[in-house]
């Protein structure tokens, strides 16, 4: 009888204090013990960093709005596909082609877009994540520039699903490579455009702001120091960081004001940032970015 009482009390206490069943606790504990085989960090930590990095499509929208013309020569040719034989290169170039697809979509260049969809599907299949790419849907959305919102939706959702899948398979380094490839391509396109339009201060500042993103990417790479390919790319990105270190981002906080209009809180942001970046800084960042990208796409 005492035993039954003890078990009952234990169950009640367990239910009240943790909100999880004993089996679930044991399962979670067992998951923790297997994490030593991975990069040694919690999935939530990696996810939190991955998810805070903006979509490269945000930059592409800015480029279009800045009045810069579409230039397919800035993109990675889909003909380069056969060169990518390792998973390392496949993942990076999948990210690159993803950004290129978004760029063609924003400029309504459907014929170019279709080539990228095909390359993306091939790389995804080879990385065993082809099941997350519904070519028909992506093709329909990507070839209609009015569907940017839907394309963003589907690519973001895909990326989240791919992350969870890759993490469940202890291949989360590939998520980092996908993201890094996409970011580098957006950087390369923005730098080329900025160099051609030296009077466009907004583009220069957009490049300067990428210092914050690069810091987050390098944080992700720090979890994979034992992987030779990741370590090598990390060293290249550190070189890029040295160029970014010359740029100052100064933040001034001022309390914001708010008002409610039609059921929405409209905020007036009174804080500001100033970004000290020169055309020479842009040139240096462009040179290093080009060099890293050339290694990846070759």
């Amino acid at each position: 009888m005492r035993f039954i009482l003890l078990v009952t009390v234990t169950v009640v206490l367990f239910s009240c204090t943790t909100g999880k069943k004993p089996d679930e606790q044991a399962f979670l504990k067992s998951l923790d013990s297997t994490k030593t085989d991975g990069p040694g960090v919690d999935e939530e930590v990696i996810n939190a960093i991955l998810e805070q990095i903006p979509s490269p499509l945000e930059i592409s929208v800015l480029l279009k709005e800045s009045g810069s013309k579409y230039n397919r020569n800035m993109l990675n040719s889909s003909n380069n596909l056969p060169k990518y034989n390792s998973n390392f290169k496949k993942a990076l170039n999948l990210g690159i082609y993803g950004t290129d697809l978004g760029y063609t979509n924003i400029y309504g260049q459907n014929q170019d877009g279709i080539k990228y969809i095909s390359s993306i599907k091939s790389l995804a299949d080879e990385l065993n994540i082809g099941q997350f790419f519904d070519v028909e849907t992506i093709g329909r959305l990507a070839t209609n520039s009015k569907n940017l919102d839907s394309l963003l939706l589907i690519t973001t959702m895909n990326f989240n699903q791919i992350n969870h899948y890759l993490q469940s398979q202890s291949r989360d380094n590939l998520s980092v490579l996908l993201l890094t490839g996409g970011w580098l391509e957006a950087m390369q396109i923005t730098c080329q455009t900025a160099v051609k339009n030296p009077a466009n201060k907004e583009l220069q500042e957009k490049i300067g702001e990428q210092k914050i993103i690069l810091e987050q990417i390098l944080l992700l790479f720090s979890f994979y120091k034992d992987d030779a390919n990741m370590a090598s790319l990390s060293a290249d990105l550190e070189q890029l960081k040295s160029a970014f270190d010359k740029i100052n981002i100064n933040y001034t906080y001022k309390e914001s004001t708010m008002e409610i209009v039609d059921g929405v809180a409209i905020i007036k942001d009174n804080s500001s940032t100033t970004i000290d970046i020169t055309p020479q800084n842009v040139e240096e960042i462009k040179t290093i970015t080009d060099s890293i990208r050339t290694k990846i796409i070759s």
Binding site: S15, P54, E58, Y251, N270, T273
Partner: protein
């Protein structure tokens, strides 16, 4: 003694089933997806967030906001409009820069024209009574 055991077993089963019920009832994924089409016209979807605050007093995400871009964050919940869910936005120094609760009034969305690039923390808290279950979407426009 038998009565005591029976009482404890009863409490135990109620406690366990209530936990299961909470987990089953909160379909934060669906609520997050429901929020996406509710972004105001002109905003492009960026992210959707699950707000499953079961046994938590807050749920937090982060995102890099950029100067010159306007962001919208909305909140969706079962039942009453926001079901006590408040979305607060903090800058990198943890200064509160926006909230969906203004002077005691709850709204379902905030529009934030960002003037300072950096990491921002999107934090969801719960004003009781709340079922601590909802979804949210983040959109942007230039």
């Amino acid at each position: 003694m038998k009565k005591l055991v029976f009482l404890l077993l009863l409490i135990s089963s109620v406690a366990v089933s209530s936990n299961e019920l909470t987990e089953q009832n909160c379909n934060a994924d669906n609520l997050a997806n429901d929020c996406i089409p509710k972004l105001a016209t002109g905003f492009n979807f960026l992210k959707s967030y699950k707000v499953n605050g079961d046994a938590k007093d807050k749920v937090e995400y982060s995102y890099v906001f950029t100067k010159g871009t306007q962001y919208m964050i909305n909140v969706c919940a079962n039942g009453t409009a926001t079901d006590g869910i408040v979305v607060n936005l903090f800058d990198k120094e943890r200064n509160k820069v926006a909230s969906s609760k203004i002077n005691g009034q709850f709204v379902s969305a905030i529009a934030y024209p960002c003037n300072a690039t950096g990491i921002y923390y999107i934090q969801y808290t719960f004003d009781e009574p709340s079922s601590h279950c909802g979804g949210s979407a983040l959109g942007f426009k230039r």
